[in-house]
Symmetry: C2
Subunit: 340 residues, 2 copies
DNA sequence: CTGAAAGCGCTTACAG
DNA sequence: CTGAAAGCGCTTACAG
């Protein structure tokens, strides 16, 4: 079980040269004779030698390791398809550029610590805040630290932020529904956050632009990703004296809840009631009718976050701390009826 | 942007003591005067000092870092709810025990390397093979290495394996369906693998025990997690001269495909055709009728994998290389009709 | 072309 | 109770 690994010293002994020479030969320095280099490389291969990155980092001041903050709250974190997909694509891009990924935690080896402490401990080259409570002091401490930081879903002045364009997404979705002839549109939105806020504002604006007014009772606050919560709220909405013809849910999971309630009431989708979601999770496209929704480009978000972060790490002076808005895509599905 | 971090030397200078003394004070050695200790701890706090783990590891021969192999193939890896949930729970448990998690990759800093090389590079304390091609030479090299290894979904002699009990799961599911009065049961299974094999065998056995024979044409090979694939296969099955009364799909996603096809053909579920899945993904329980399926306990799998691996790391001599089978749970849902 | 030496930041016997 | 010294495995000016 012991992990006995060849060191540079072992190679130097077996080759009868100094460790300096071994190091240089292995790192491709030019001032080593071809014969020596070959001998060393051969010996290293045979010994299964591989340099230890942590030690290397000690001299090089670079760990090629990125810290990823991914707090695993109830419905968030890795258990959320949205975030899991973003991480997958971030990981792929980072690997391609030669960086490893380590999760940022609150403790290691029995020591409690802040996120920032953990970063120092591991000496990350940069930090990706993928999923966190953005008002937490510890998170802010990280954002305001000396580390190169990229966040998603939330913009900071002190970091690069990659955002799915929520204003534009909600605009496209709402306009599409209006274009299908709907004027009585209800919105079960998620709990308070900047994302929720932007979508709500956008929804309002598009209604106004189209000269549409909807009653207060068409707005309900649900819980992101909770089908249960939206089932109840949908029941209330559909039992109104003047019910909506279309319900937009906070996300695709919530939309499934709306569909369940509708079907339970004997309503057909989209004939009797139209439903729309947000996110574009895979399952919602495996159903029939396919859900009308806004697809967030998780591959692009993760890819872009990694690209930006590594640029910031490698060329801090030529990488500005921008907020980057990524395009979303309207998925027309079949769950919104054309009333015209 | 420069990460100037206080070192132990800085503290020693500001306190007027040696680095040895600082190190000992910070690590709770007893032979340091109370006054000195307090002064040092205070100074360290003020300087925002935090020891660097990589350097520490150099002496301590322990990194408190676990390598996780998670190859991101098309439908696998982090984009698969099953694996993502297992990773989430593994991560939580590992964090609680004080271990970090780093993904094992194929390259870092432009160097190609094997998985084992990467482990040596990062000097992991142990390895969790969560999602990989188990026949790949590189994976076998890892399993056969000196590293403590835990795998899931596949048993090895040289490692601890945590498995969801597929034989038992398929047994429960099949028996339940038979108990509901079904005798014409089709099975759209996944592509070849030990998991697929065990489920198929179990399915056969239960049929035999119940004196049931089903025609060859009731077996179809689909693709795990592909609704598209199972849509086509279901169409074929339902168009047979003597169609099944129940179709078991390889997993819940595939089951959704079966449902789509059925509905498209004007069949109601479960009145006209019964459907069952496997996995217990969240979405399948948000639908109506709820899908009859076998729920794999992803939380338990990840938790147990982490627990076993850390035990193996910390107490190699008192941790045996077992294969651990975890219970599954039959979710009765409403997608299988009671024919009695 | 090669190697001795210093140093990265830390820990830990050992001497005082 | 405190500190000088060696060492973990590697890199890199510098001297030869």
């Amino acid at each position: 079980m012991a992990k006995k690994v060849a060191t540079i010293k072992d190679i130097s002994l077996s080759c009868g040269v100094s460790v300096s020479t071994v190091s240089k030969a292995l790192n491709g320095y030019q001032d080593i004779s071809e014969a020596t280099r070959e001998m060393i490389i051969k010996a290293a291969r045979e010994a299964g030698y591989f340099p230890e990155a942590n030690v290397r980092a000690l001299k090089m001041k670079k760990t090629y390791n990125i810290g990823v903050l991914f707090s695993t709250l109830s419905k968030h974190g890795l258990r959320n398809e949205y975030f899991a997909h973003i991480l997958a694509s971030f990981k792929e891009k980072a690997a391609k550029r030669g960086y490893d990924i380590t999760f940022i935690e609150h403790n290691i080896g029995n020591r409690k610590m802040t996120y920032l402490d953990h970063c120092r401990l591991r000496n990350f080259d940069g930090v990706f805040i993928a999923c966190a409570e953005f008002t937490e002091p510890e998170v802010l401490e990280l954002v305001n630290s000396d580390y190169p930081v990229v966040t998603i879903d939330h913009a900071f002045n002190e970091a690069i932020s990659v955002l799915s364009d929520n204003v534009e997404g909600m605009r496209q979705l709402t306009q599409y529904i209006i274009d299908q002839g709907h004027r009585k549109i209800a919105y079960i939105h998620g709990t308070k956050s900047s994302v929720t806020h932007n979508r709500l504002v956008s929804f309002h604006n598009v209604l106004k632009e189209n000269g549409i007014t909807v009653p207060e009772e068409y707005f309900a606050q649900g819980i992101y990703r909770s089908a249960e919560s939206s089932e109840k709220l949908a029941l209330h909405l559909l039992n109104l004296k003047d019910p909506p013809t279309c319900i937009i849910a906070s996300d695709d999971y919530a939309a499934l809840g709306v569909m369940n309630t509708a079907r339970r009431m004997g309503l057909k989708i989209p004939e009797d009631i139209s439903v729309a979601g947000y996110d574009g999770i895979s399952v919602a496209q495996a159903l029939e009718p396919k859900l009308t929704t806004i697809k967030q480009d998780t591959d692009k978000i993760g890819f872009e976050a990694a690209r930006q972060l590594i640029n910031l790490i490698e060329n801090p002076m030529s990488t500005s701390l921008d907020t980057i808005y990524l395009k979303v895509q309207l998925v027309k599905g079949g769950s919104v009826r054309n009333l015209r």
